[in-house]
Symmetry: C2
Subunit: 216 residues, 2 copies
Amino acid sequence: MKMSELSRESGVAVATIKYYLREGLLHEGLRTSATQAQYDASHLARLGLIRALLGTGNLSVAATRNVLAELDHPAESMHDILGTVTEQLMPATDEGLDLTRAEALVRSLGWWFDPDHRDQLRPLAAALAAMDSAGFELSDRILIGYGRAMHKIAEGEVRRVPDDSPEATVRYVALGVVLVEPLLLALRRLAHIDASASRFGAKNLRLPDPADRSPG
Amino acid sequence: MKMSELSRESGVAVATIKYYLREGLLHEGLRTSATQAQYDASHLARLGLIRALLGTGNLSVAATRNVLAELDHPAESMHDILGTVTEQLMPATDEGLDLTRAEALVRSLGWWFDPDHRDQLRPLAAALAAMDSAGFELSDRILIGYGRAMHKIAEGEVRRVPDDSPEATVRYVALGVVLVEPLLLALRRLAHIDASASRFGAKNLRLPDPADRSPG
């Protein structure tokens, strides 16, 4: 298809597609004349992924390029693809962070991690440091409890990662990491309301529909 | 103590304390002359809470005032205090959100919620809408699984809420909601790495210290 059709099919403006070509995010089409090229389904799929990474994933153009590079020169294992994608999705953290406590927590949980990528401990170290400086203490037992709960969630998610094509994998992982975060936090807050109603008893306790309430 | 001592003890600048007094966040001291007043431990405690809400909790002055009003005119139940605090901590969401699907999910989970506060469904509705518009589909079974996992976490958290003083409760809830969120997300990402190493096998799989790895 021509560029105009690619734009119509994908819903991405021609100027934006040209920008992606210049930035090396989208591969060139098959040149048919000095001013025209043919695009195919691979361009359509790639455009969908680029939109997912830049838009929903909120990645920079450089980070998106790093993720796409995994697809063009696939690493030898799916694990490495996942590692690259999630590393690009990592929130920015303070330079001066001490990673010792985060590393100790991951070790007590018995989790594998790559000692060559200690940077992946940074978000955890930042979260622990923020609690520290607010004087909000959590015991190791509680931290490990949180870790186990999140591992159960992560296990299910990794089990559901499609491994039929690297493109599908990257899209699933990038969207899954980013989109499920607000879902989990929203569910936690609504669960607090339910748990609080159980513990403290709600004044004017009214169930939306008692028949709908499952036991426990 | 005088204002200068209150400032030293709390680490909050005098100009900032005066601002909190003007905004009605901090209660007046006992006036001893036209220009001087005496402050006590209640002011110190309140200052700590104000810093927690404005700083860590990232609340607006107006939202902080709403939370503090609960302390000054305590509602009849702890559940209502929790409700007010968490409502003020709710992230902003789109006006036009459809809450139907979020409500249906909370009903299938069997969770209590107050039909007069349907706004509390908004963050969940926003998360579901974002997945929708990115074409990232999760089955009801998976959504309910996420809900159950977060409920287990929330139950433990609500069980640990101190109920000895409303001030301690509010501080714990406000800090706990806000500070634990990045902790959970950071743990989830590290758990992905471990789960991915198990499913796909890491190239150059190296454990930091095999002796430390717990079984399973």
